[in-house]
Amino acid sequence: MNKVVINAEAAVSDIFDGAVLMLGGFGLCGIPENCISALVKKNVRNLTCISNNAGVDDFGIGLMLKQKQVKKMISSYVGENAEFERQLLSGELEVELIPQGTLATRCMAAGYGMPAVFTPAGVGTEVAEGKEIRAFNFNGETKEYLMEYAFEADFAIVKAWKGDTLGNLIYKDTARNFNPLMAMAGKVTIAEVEILVPAGELDPNYIHTPGIYVHRIFCGENYEKRIEQRTVRKAV
């Protein structure tokens, strides 16, 4: 059993026009840079992308938007992207905005084999329109919850810090974010890592994504890791 593929091109080679993709990351933090580049190169189109954000104009999913590869974005926040705004306003791009916790939980639900979950997020708002609402007595109060369905994706594409040849993954700091959730949710899960090691080198206790969820893994290269909001303090 060896899940290693040679590079990003090989990893995404069977991603087809019209596929539903999950892409890990929060803002530009922890995004699968190599796979995005390969998808841009491949120019696969009509994609539905489930991703918390939509990148910026010239980085991340923004690169795919620029090439009009994306038919629909499912995100919680798409603020930092002018081309996105243009396509949305012109009707070229569909967007479905959903609460961030709902997005995360719907990915996790897929990985945990739970067809639906309940969350209070969006009750009483336009997000609740058309959704089943149900009151539960829980945690000391009776409250309404929305039923939200598990996401299913043809491919989940995630970025980890370290990985092994069996697909076990470890993330670093807040680059973890949606990555382990999406890793569990793909029919096919592709992981790119900064450091790829032979099976046995990672401590089994500290693996965030067990390899059973991962189908392909490769060692990425030339990570830019662009910072969206570089904010510093003055030394005292």
Partner: protein, 217 residues
Amino acid sequence: MLNKNQIAKRIAKELKDGYYVNLGIGIPTLVANYIPEGVSVVLQSENGLLGMGPFPLEGEEDPDLINAGKQTITMLPGSSIFDSAMSFGMIRAGKVDLTVLGAMEVSDNGDIANWKIPGKMVKGMGGAMDLVASAKNIIVAMQHTNKAGESKLLKKCTLPITGVRCVKKVVTELGVFDITERGFELRELAPGVTIEEVKAKTEGRLFTDGDILEMQG
């Protein structure tokens, strides 16, 4: 009348030792600068961190370590990292003791609108809907009026709402308001501000009951 930093400083007085706190973008972020002496709190960043520290020193920025506003940050001793599902899981489970958010409008029954302006590009709700639907204790930090001078403390929100009956307290440059069955209860008045001015600038139900303290920025 208080400035943004003074609003933040006033809100910081609500922090109790041992609190887990989520601070939104804008004035709420400034609250971290005024944590009272002897009070130890842990800041949650909903992208997956407990124990958020200050911004890094120049040259020490780490692209893998950002807050929910995508700013580079640091971790304090005792931090923990988790995925977005656990992050919102702990929020939904009521484990976060205090949430401080900005808002465009708050109604006198505690509804909040802070994510969408019809006719303008909608950027998304991010984690705001999860936070307001789940937190036990939500304080809104905002200006009392919008740029057109209209009240942001309303009978009913005019903008699409983010959550219903969830805000417990509003702190503006004019005063501190508890949200009660009877509407906004004025609890503290900023120095130099009169009740009449607050009344004039508050469209929602407003009342006073007992002593009104001077608001300390």
